[in-house]
Symmetry: C2
């Protein structure tokens, strides 16, 4: 079973890494982190670098496709013809097409959510409708046929665990949950917009805006297999040191 995770510049790492750790509970899963070409990808923190291992061209028939979200780069990725063409093509043959957070907007831009129930980060629910999807804002994960979308960032853990259950059965999922010790006990209770105060929401919007401008200020793509690692790190470090 081949699992292709989109690795794109500006992505939010946890969106991808949460489900990836859960899906490792599938027997004989082969993971690929895919982008236009293999190479280092700088995530939305501008500090964490992850590796794309395979190109789109090399990955024409994954069994599962997973698209995470981003604070600053969702819409640019959703306007990337190479991404959309690949997504439309592989979606025809997937067993599951999945997204976390604003990754559903990239699926939407590819036309995959037209007429479908779907979810997204709470801040992106309205945008879903522009792609013809029916937002399900109170659900943590939403399944419509073979398309499964999750709410914001950390919802990818629930999505990944649910998928393990669907694919490999409940005993395997239960063992995975125990391996990952996924027995969450958040010290606060403002994780869903319905539980958050007006202040929580205003503060969260401000934080996200700050992350967008930090990224915009240093926006650049460092990718490609011919990159010397030192060059990637130099850029990351310079940007990090230049922070206000």
């Amino acid at each position: 079973m081949q699992i292709a995770i989109l690795a794109y510049p500006g992505m939010t790492a946890l969106d991808a890494i949460g489900p990836y750790e859960m899906l490792r509970g599938l027997p004989e899963a082969e993971f690929r982190f895919v982008w236009h070409e293999p190479g280092p990808i700088v995530t939305d923190s501008c500090v964490l670098v992850v590796g794309a291992t395979h190109s789109f061209q090399e990955t024409p028939a994954p069994d599962i496709v997973l698209i995470g979200g981003s604070i600053p780069a969702t819409m640019s990725t959703a306007a990337d013809d190479g991404v959309l063409t690949w997504l439309r093509k592989v979606h025809l043959g997937t067993t599951w097409t999945a997204s976390v957070c604003s990754g559903s907007l990239i699926l939407g831009a590819a036309g995959i959510l037209r007429g479908k129930d779907a979810t997204c980060h709470w801040a992106g629910q309205r945008v879903l409708t522009t792609f013809g999807a029916n937002p399900q804002r109170d659900k943590r994960i939403v399944r419509d046929g073979k398309v499964i979308t999750a709410a914001g960032v950390s919802a990818g853990l629930d999505l990944g665990l649910w998928l393990v259950g669907e694919i490999a059965g409940q005993p395997r999922a239960e063992a995975t949950q125990l391996c990952i010790e996924y027995d969450p006990r958040p010290p606060f209770d403002t994780g869903h917009i319905s539980k958050a105060s007006a202040r929580n929401k205003a503060d969260a919007v401000l934080m996200m805006k700050g992350m967008i401008s930090a990224r915009d200020a240093g926006a650049e793509v460092v990718a490609g297999s011919k990159v010397l690692w030192a060059n990637v790190i130099d850029r990351v470090r310079r940007r990090s040191a230049a922070k206000p």
Copy 2:
């Protein structure tokens, strides 16, 4: 506020990425992924590559140190003199020294947990006592002075959010929780050993053993800033393709 996250070959990515996403809610946090030298680090899946951005030598005085765990590489990292020397030195000046999962065993090996309450992944609780720690197996996160340890893998999200609250106050932590939409709803309920069946436990142990042998079969360190990215990716891909 400088936050240094240990990035070591064989690490479990979610152990580090969970708290990292939460800690990004701290105002003016400067993140560093540290190792002997900057360069690409192949995690325990043998597929996911993350970047170490700074060396130990360049990072003598972080405010927060965070050590994640690993399935196959905890004990080799806990026997790495360079890691232990750095940890002992920086711990003297940290505001918080933190671990997730079996990362506490690395703190233990550095002598940091002697006489302290601490926790670990359920499978590593007993080993904690060999380092003079007092295991608290029923707690998700354990604070003893400035040392804070978390249970397995996903417990890093709770640890990270708790730390944001301690450092920046509850409103900031609440906004962070909303940004990350951390309103977990696991589809099963076997995340704590006390809730798991004998079969769940046997299955989980088998899965973890499988991950250890997969890693041992392909164990190698790819690191260093002079590495061409293509070489890292080539190795990762060859190993992935050679999987049984």
